[in-house]
Subunit: 194 residues, 2 copies
C-alpha cells in the first residue's frame, strides 16, 4: 500500500540494497487485506507481506527489513549492535507507530466529523513522548545505532518524516529534523510513493 509507512520501509530497504522486486498494491482501506486470498498469505491481514521465491510469505515490516538486510551494510553483525537495532525497531512498533502513524491515518482517512478524532489528543501526547525519546538520543549520535545508518533508521524514518500529516510539529525536535536530512541524503534514497 503506497501510502503506508510500513510498506515504504520495505521499498526503501529494497532500493538501497539494489534488490530486484515486484510491488503489488494492496489497499487495506478498501478491505483488500481481509480477502481470503490475502489472509492465506498473512492470517493477521496486514500489509506489507513479502512473497518469497520459495512460495512462502513473510509479514511484519520490521521482520522483513531484518530478513532483507541480513549480511548487508544496513544491519550490524555485532551481537549487541544487532540487539540495539532491534531495540529501536520494537520501540518503533510499540511506542511510535501506534501514535504517530495512527494520528496521521485518522486525519487522512477519517471524515472530519469522525468520532475517532477524540483519540487525537492522547495520540499527540504519546507521539510527542516518542519523538522526545528520539530527540534525546539523536542529540548525541548521527544515527540510531553505532553511529551508522541501518534498518533502525529506515524503520523510524518511515512515519517520522511525514509526522506533520498527523499534526506533529517536527520543528520542536531539531535533532530529529537534522537526522531526517541525513537519512534523506543516503545513497539510493527514494521518497515515499504515496
Amino acid at each position: 500500500m503506497s501510502d503506508s509507512g510500513n510498506c515504504y520501509k520495505v521499498k526503501l530497504t529494497l532500493e538501497q540494497l539494489a534488490l530486484p522486486y515486484h510491488w503489488v498494491e494492496v489497499d487495506s482501506a478498501r478491505g483488500e487485506t481481509r480477502s481470503l486470498k490475502f489472509l492465506a498469505m498473512n492470517a493477521n491481514g496486514k500489509v506489507p507481506t513479502l512473497a518469497l521465491e520459495d512460495g512462502t510469505f513473510l509479514p511484519e515490516s520490521n521482520a522483513i527489513l531484518n530478513y532483507l538486510a541480513h549480511g548487508s551494510r544496513l544491519l550490524p553483525s555485532d551481537r549487541l549492535d544487532h540487539a540495539r537495532v532491534l531495540q529501536w525497531m520494537f520501540f518503533e512498533q510499540y511506542s511510535h507507530e501506534p501514535c504517530v502513524a495512527v494520528a496521521r491515518s485518522i486525519l487522512r482517512y477519517q471524515p472530519s466529523d469522525s468520532p475517532r478524532r477524540a483519540e487525537l489528543p492522547r495520540l499527540l501526547e504519546r507521539g510527542n513522548q516518542a519523538l522526545s525519546v528520539m530527540e534525546q538520543h539523536l542529540a548525541r549520535t548521527p544515527f540510531f545505532v553505532g553511529g551508522r545508518y541501518s534498518i533502525a533508521d529506515i524503520a523510524l524514518y518511515a512515519y517520522t518524516h511525514c509526522a506533520a500529516d498527523g499534526g506533529f510539529k517536527l520543528t520542536d525536535f531539531p535533532a530529529v529534523s537534522n537526522w531526517l536530512e541525513r537519512v534523506k541524503a543516503q545513497p539510493r534514497h527514494v521518497p515515499m510513493p504515496g
Copy 2:
C-alpha cells in the same frame, strides 16, 4: 516488575539458558520507571531494562531476548527462520500485547469504576483476533517457528498463559491451550513470579 509479562519473558529466557543474573524489582505502578535514575537507563521509561556488564543498558523485552539467546538453541541461526522468530515477536508487541496485556492490566490495577473499563470490549475483540491468528498457526505446528521451541514461543507465552486475567477464554482456543502445555513442559521452565 514481577507481575509484568514483558519482564517474565526475560526471566524465563535467563533461567532456560542458565545465565546468572541479578533481578532488581522496579514498580511502574508506583512511578519508579519515571524516576531520573531510571530514565537515565531507559529514556522510554519502561521495564524490563537489561543492565550489561559494560555499564550500558538494553531496553525492549524482545530485543533483550534476541541478545540473550544469540547463538543458543532458543534462536535459529537460519536467515529465514530468524526472520520468522522476529515476525512473531513483532506480532506479539503490535497485535497481541497492546490488547491481551492491557485488558489484564485494566482489570488488575484499575478500580472497578475506572473509565478505562470502557476500553475493554475493543481490547477483547482485538485480543481474540490475535489469539485466532495464533490458533490457526498452532493447529499446524507444535511451536511458532521451525517446529522447535524458541524465543518466539517465550515472547507469546508471557501474556497468553495469563490471558484469563484479562477476560479472555482460552478454552475457545484448543491449539493455543495445548501449546501452552508444551511450553510449560520445557526444561528449566519457571512460572511467572508475580
